[in-house]
Amino acid sequence: MSQLDPEGLPAHVDRLFRAAWALCGSRVDAEDLVQETFARVLSGPRVLRGRDELAYLLAALRNTYVSDRRRAARRPALIAKPIEDLPLVTTDAALVPEPAFEASEVLAAIAQLPEDFRLALIAVDVVGLSYAEAARALGTREATITTRIYRARQQVSRRLEPDRVGKSDG
């Protein structure tokens, strides 16, 4: 069994930040989530148990997110409104045959997915894990992950259709 190498963490920061933003729906919350996740994983030796570093970090990110939500849910009259952020222009229109979307639009669309679909899409399409790695990181079967990814992509694609007005999901 290998241990998590703290020296290797900076290489994963960008992907984890995108994953956190897609998870939380907020750039500010994403930054807090990543910081908290790194603080947890750096607080002691971490055994990877056959997972690669990125899969391990995604699982840690998800666990931190869930823990934070549970803590927040125990407080009375807690916030229910989403926090809005400025859009960041990052898409390269020359690479994407579709109309270029603001990154925040895409991440907001992902953040609106049901949690199971959201996590599956984040694991594979945002973080870049294989289906098998994603299944291990999220504690489910590979076939389940694949189906969730299909449905998540379907919903994201439909939410971001330029001429979506008047259409319904089906």
Binding site: P6, L9, P10, V13, D14, L16, F17, R18, V28, D29, E31, D32, V34, Q35, F38, A39, R40, L42, S43, G44, R75, P76, A77, L78, I79, K81, I83, E84, D85, L86, L88, T90, T91, D92, L95, V96, P97, E98, A100, F101, A103, V106, L107, I110, L121, D125, V126, S130, A143, T146, T147, I149, Y150, A152, R153, Q154, V156, S157, R158, L160
Partner: protein, 248 residues
């Protein structure tokens, strides 16, 4: 058309998802591509999958530099203490290092920019309620300076947090409006903080309001009864914040 893969047992959805991102097994690819070519319905579903893959792949946001700085800050050597004490201690050290990195390790006292980071951070507490004795304010206050109730102006209190920087306790209430999103309003206990350079200074009813930029956000700061007050927002313009500050 109900396509099933005898070899993998995957459903049609799973097969299309894998074909869209190229992760499908080679021995399944040809059969599936023939099925897609023969079915407009499957072709449309595959196009939808590929579109989503392309859109998400185009998101190329980089993490803020301070996250990398947080990672690269030297970790304290572990001492033979309990596992829980070590974990709490490391988290506290990491948080302190981050805050001091943002403040630039100033040696002439705290700067309001260090506090502005808290006004832009995440709420960790439920919002304070409206005061029963004075409906113009909330139940939260610092040194007798109460947070205003701005619901009549379209800003609803949605959360709060409590922090401490350099011995100053800082209370923050977050408000949200449909037009400008979220604004954080912090009141710092103790003597007023240094402002440093400001974009502009406005004067109204005997109070000076400094406007400055911090981490892409607009910040307005002023003193109320000897306490530093900070309004910060990533979306609301300075004019909106000055309007709120005048009512604080």
């Amino acid at each position: 058309m109900n396509l099933r893969h005898r070899h993998s047992g995957h459903s049609a959805e799973a097969a299309l998802a894998r074909l869209a991102d190229g992760s499908i097994a080679e021995n399944e690819r040809s059969e599936l591509e023939r099925a897609v070519a023969a079915s407009p319905e499957l072709a449309a579903k595959l196009a939808e999958q590929r579109r989503a893959v392309a859109i998400v792949a185009a998101v190329d946001i980089e993490a803020p530099a301070r996250l990398l700085e947080h990672l690269r800050s030297p970790q304290p050597a572990r001492r033979p203490r309990s596992r829980w004490a070590t974990r709490r201690g490391l988290i506290a050290v990491a948080a302190a290092l981050l805050i001091f990195a943002l403040l630039g390790a100033r040696d002439h006292g705290l700067d309001v920019r260090g506090e502005a980071h808290l006004a832009l951070a995440r709420a960790t507490l439920a919002p304070p309620r409206q005061s029963a004795s004075d409906h113009a304010v909330l139940t939260a206050a610092v040194g007798g300076v109460a947070f205003p109730d701005w619901r009549g102006r379209g800003w609803l209190a949605i959360g709060a947090r409590s922090d401490a920087i350099g011995g100053h306790s800082v209370e923050t209430v977050f408000y949200d409006s449909s037009g400008y999103g979220r604004v954080g309003y912090s009141i710092v206990a103790g003597s007023p903080l240094a402002i440093g350079s400001a974009q502009s200074v406005r004067h109204y009813a005997g109070v000076s309001y400094a406007v400055l930029k911090f981490d892409g956000a607009t910040v307005v700061t002023w003193d109320r009864d000897g306490h530093t007050c900070v309004l910060a927002s990533r979306r609301a313009p300075a004019a909106a914040l000055l309007g709120l500050a005048g009512w604080a």
